[in-house]
């Protein structure tokens, strides 16, 4: 059995989603298995059209900061979150959606990009993966 990385994606901030997806893709590229648990504000990013919509965690400045950072990322040819997510799926990464968050926030399955989601679960599913993981992160 290969090593595993498990990440809780609790933040919906753009920069933190980048951290999560880059670490996730790096893990897959180095031969590990990966599970991403999307909960709270992170789950908002799995709504249809939501992936790129997160604010910057600092210096968002009503969108001006995000616009500037995105411009610099484009100049540095940083991949989009859509591309990182597509690569993550292609390399066999697993996405789980937190059902409690869906209930609290009134999110229905049809509001989410169901094509990206492997399973809907709760803390038990997270622990089942996390206990087998050599890398676990909360982002």
């Amino acid at each position: 059995m290969s090593e595993r990385t498990t990440i809780v994606v609790q933040s919906g901030d753009m920069d933190k989603l980048y951290s999560a997806l880059i670490i996730a893709n790096g893990s897959l590229a180095m031969g590990m298995e990966v599970s991403l648990y999307f909960t709270f504000w992170g789950l908002e990013r799995l709504k249809k059209g939501g992936l790129e919509r997160g604010p910057l965690s600092r210096m968002h400045l009503l969108g001006l900061g995000k616009w500037m950072v995105r411009r610099r990322m484009k100049a540095a040819r940083v991949a989009s979150l859509e591309r990182l997510m597509a690569d993550f799926r292609e390399l066999g990464g697993k996405v789980l959606a937190c059902e409690m968050t869906m209930e609290i926030m009134g999110i229905k399955r049809q509001d989410l990009r169901e094509d990206l989601i492997d399973a809907y679960g709760a803390v038990g599913s997270y622990i089942a993966d996390a206990r087998k993981s050599t890398v676990t992160l909360f982002i």
Partner: protein
């Protein structure tokens, strides 16, 4: 046994690593991947990935900002 070219020149983290992995998954055992890139950290990290995946690193050539790496699947 084919030679598969992966061109990640101009790409930054984590794309060179990810594209290498994607190409490896499509390759047949014995195929040789020839990866060309310009991202300095990937020059060190792609060999680390090859080791982690238990694959043969045939060679690393060139400067940190313009390199070619060969890996056998």
């Amino acid at each position: 046994m084919a030679e598969i070219r992966v061109d990640v020149r101009g790409e930054t983290c984590p794309v060179p690593l990810v594209e290498t992995r994607k190409a490896l998954r499509r390759a047949q055992p014995g195929d040789v991947l020839v990866i060309a890139g310009t991202h300095p950290a990937s020059k060190k990290e792609i060999p680390m990935a090859a080791e982690a995946l238990d694959l043969e690193l045939i060679g690393v050539e060139g400067a940190d900002s313009d390199w070619t790496i060969r890996i056998r699947r």
